[in-house]
């Protein structure tokens, strides 16, 4: 046990006297005179219900939350009365708004709460039998599902690693991160279930991918980790989800990708809006983020793994005959170029366009002769 409270209540005269007083009807009632703001809160849009945005007023709101919320370090909710000198200090490490905040985070959280789904019942698992697949297609899809099962849990571990270090004043961000952890657990679950329902089972884990996951988890700051995970890695996965819906061998699989895509898009949007917040409020962090993304892009390049790329080629070409492989290569090549262009677009929208010239992807694309395609797409 690391923490012992300030009082031993087994033999505590103060407590005994207090209970005796309360029993007699002599209440302290100090909590009734909290002095907190009393404001009028109502649902602005009845269809949406009572949202965080509806509560964004006065000392309870997030717009007026300063960059450095001095004082609160415990479990007091934002807007509650607390004594800075007499609170149980939870020793939060992330205490600057810029460390965690993102534009629109409250609406992302509300969206996450309203769009929960269930991998157990929202996917028509029994229909899989209706759609015949060749062995090689099912093997390729099982490899793709093994990859997705493997990578999705990074987005539970990484948010969990940072959530408890954040000051409770940033409750909308902490709530968003909790929804993300749940979303990603569900993603890992749905891909595991798909791999284990298809006949093949799970296939081989991918060491290069794992090194990339390790790099994400080991980020020095939350913002570095967020830029790498939300923006770069989840951005890539979002493009892959769209592509995978397109190449899915059955309507059951298409349904899976439709469900995961809406969650993933929300996570990427949070990452982009967090980066934009930093660009607008703490531009001095640019170089640090450049360095993090230098290394993030480096390990991403190493993720060009035969098993991962080839399983997508087999799925896109619908087989392993030379003509099918040629078709698959074309489609997957387009997808990979799209991953880069969409990443660059997100950097631009976050106000970090200067990153594009420095990106390790830029010379690599030129080496491969697809740099012009990327440039043209921008």
């Amino acid at each position: 046990m690391s923490y012992y409270g300030s009082a031993d209540y087994r033999y505590n005269d103060d407590l005994a006297l207090r209970m005796r007083d309360i029993k007699k009807g002599n209440l302290d009632l100090g909590w009734m005179k909290s002095g907190t703001e009393s404001l009028k809160f109502a649902t602005e849009n009845k269809k949406r219900g009572l949202t965080y945005m509806d509560l964004n007023h006065g000392s309870y709101g997030y717009d007026d939350l300063p960059e450095l919320p001095r004082g609160p370090r415990g479990a007091a909710p934002r807007g509650a009365a607390f004594d800075a000198n007499n609170q149980a200090d939870l020793e939060p490490e992330l205490n600057r708004k810029t460390d965690v905040w993102a534009y629109k985070v409250a609406s992302f959280t509300e969206e996450a709460m309203s769009r929960q789904w269930d991998a157990t019942t929202d996917v028509p698992w029994n229909d899989l039998e209706k759609y015949p697949r060749t062995d090689e297609i099912e093997i390729a899809f099982a490899q793709l599902c093994t990859f997705f099962t493997e990578v999705e849990l990074i987005a539970t571990d990484l948010p969990a690693k940072w959530l408890w270090r954040m000051n409770n004043q940033f409750s909308e961000v902490k709530h968003f991160i909790a929804t993300q952890a749940m979303d990603e657990a569900r993603h890992a679950e749905v891909f595991r279930k798909r791999a284990l329902a298809g006949g093949v089972g799970l296939m081989e884990a991918l060491p290069q991918t794992e090194h990339s996951l390790k790099a994400i988890l080991d980020g020095d700051t939350y913002s570095e980790a967020s830029a790498f995970m939300h923006l770069l890695a989840e951005g890539n996965v979002l493009t892959m989800f769209r592509f995978s819906e397109f190449i899915s061998p059955t309507p059951v699989d298409k349904r899976i990708f439709q469900l995961v895509m809406q969650d993933e898009a929300r996570h990427v949007s949070y990452g982009m809006q967090h980066l934009k917040w930093i660009m607008d409020h703490a531009p001095e962090q640019k170089e640090q983020l450049h360095r993090a993304l230098d290394e993030g892009e480096n390990v991403t390049i190493n993720q060009f793994d035969a098993a991962l790329t080839e399983c997508m080629i087999v799925l896109a070409g619908k087989g392993t005959k030379p003509a099918q492989i040629a078709e698959g290569v074309k489609i997957v090549g387009n997808m990979q170029a799209k991953q880069i262009t969409e990443y660059f677009h997100r950097l631009e929208r976050a106000g970090f366009a200067e990153r594009i010239a420095r990106s390790k992807f830029t010379p690599m694309m030129a080496d491969l002769g697809i740099g012009q395609g990327v440039k043209a797409a921008l």
Binding site: K40, D83, V123, S171, P207, H211, N298, A306, V329, L368
Partner: protein, 363 residues
């Protein structure tokens, strides 16, 4: 950046050559031969869908997991083939008995199927017409303020352990993600409850903060789980039932019922986890009991703090009903401790002394 890759891959001619080979259609395809245990699992009950229990079979299930994980510290999913070269992701909780509960997969399934969203599912308009007297409304807001704190820190507790757990225990990690989600929702729902209408929050309770900090800073996961799931959420569950039972409007009935329902999952996992932990490692009973001694002490501080007991007196309709609520909840908690293998804690617990104090017996 803590992790630096061994190579600058962007300048690695091998990678460019590999990509060019693939682009020209020369695939290796040897991965297609590396197939693991075949599986074609289907829902055992179609109306329930494909559950985790349905797919937990053979090498994919948890039954064959060893007590100590020595073979996988990566994110490779359980049952996948593990090639050489997988890195360690630094997991610190690698013993099955430190985390496992057989009921966990079912609880995760339940958490998903019983989802609700405070924004839309609570009939907030019902609060407009409720006929609370002003003091009772202030009392509810004070209790809501405490529930927000409980939700915030419970979310932290689950998060602070989830990322340290080995991926071989993915069902437990899923459940902890659901706990983070549920706990955050408690904070959201009761924040909205306190502020709706002409609302306000109450005061922070130092004593409640100390209780939450005691749980948050538990040294081991079994200690954290016993303190949060078994102890704290026994009280949260009871508070949910009490909130619903004393409600005067549909919004409070709904909030209390949902709180009790969500809290029950924490309690159920806590009982099964502690029972399973002690079944495998009975010598840990003393460590857990010691920890609960300290946390129960902090719990007494929180329950006896004016910010907790006085609003309960208002909401319950007097001191006696509030004291009876405490006695009933403590009794349920002690029964659960016994069921979990911790024995009868009544005699030794500071909670019992506190209950006697409430009855006017200061022994």
């Amino acid at each position: 950046m803590s992790y630096i890759a061994p190579k600058d891959y962007a300048a690695d001619p091998e990678i460019v050559a590999k990509i060019l080979r693939t682009v020209s259609g020369q695939l290796e395809l040897d991965w297609m031969k590396r197939v693991g245990e075949p599986a074609a699992f289907r829902p055992s009950q179609p109306s329930r869908g494909l559950t985790l229990d349905d797919i937990n079979q053979g090498g994919y299930g948890p039954d064959k997991l060893p007590e100590v994980i020595r073979h996988n510290f990566s994110m490779a999913p359980r049952g996948a083939l593990l090639p050489p070269g997988l890195p360690s992701l630094g997991y610190r909780v690698n013993r099955k008995s430190d985390v496992w509960a057989d009921v966990a997969p079912q609880l995760f399934e339940e958490a998903k199927s019983r989802r609700w969203a405070p924004a839309r599912d609570v009939p907030w308009a019902a609060l407009d017409g409720s006929s609370h007297d002003a003091n009772r409304e202030l009392a509810l807001r004070q209790l809501a303020t405490s529930l927000i704190s409980i939700g915030l820190v419970s979310c932290d507790v689950a998060a602070s352990w989830e990322w340290r757990m080995n991926q071989e225990f993915h069902e437990i990690k899923y459940l902890l993600c659901a706990q983070m989600f549920d706990a955050a929702r408690i904070a959201e729902a009761f924040r909205k409850r306190a502020l709706f209408g002409e609302g306000s929050l109450g005061v922070d309770s130092r004593a409640l903060g100390e209780l939450l900090k005691s749980i948050f800073l538990s040294d081991t996961y079994p200690e954290a789980s016993a303190a949060m799931n078994l102890m704290l959420f026994s009280w949260v569950q009871a508070l949910g039932r009490h909130w619903a039972a004393t409600a005067s409007n549909a919004a409070d009935v709904y909030l209390g019922t949902q709180l009790a329902q969500d809290a029950t999952r924490f309690v159920t996992y806590g009982v099964d986890h502690v029972r399973s932990h002690l079944h495998s490692r009975p010598l840990q009973a003393e460590a857990l009991s010691d920890h609960l001694d300290m946390c129960e002490n902090a719990l007494v501080g929180a329950l006896g703090a004016p910010e907790m007991i006085e609003p309960l007196v208002f909401v319950s309709g007097g001191f006696e009903p509030a004291a009876a609520f405490y006695a009933r909840t403590a009794d349920e908690y002690f029964r659960r401790c016994d069921a979990a293998g911790l024995g009868d804690r009544r005699d030794a617990s500071v909670l019992s002394s506190f209950l006697r104090m409430l009855q006017g017996d200061s022994r």
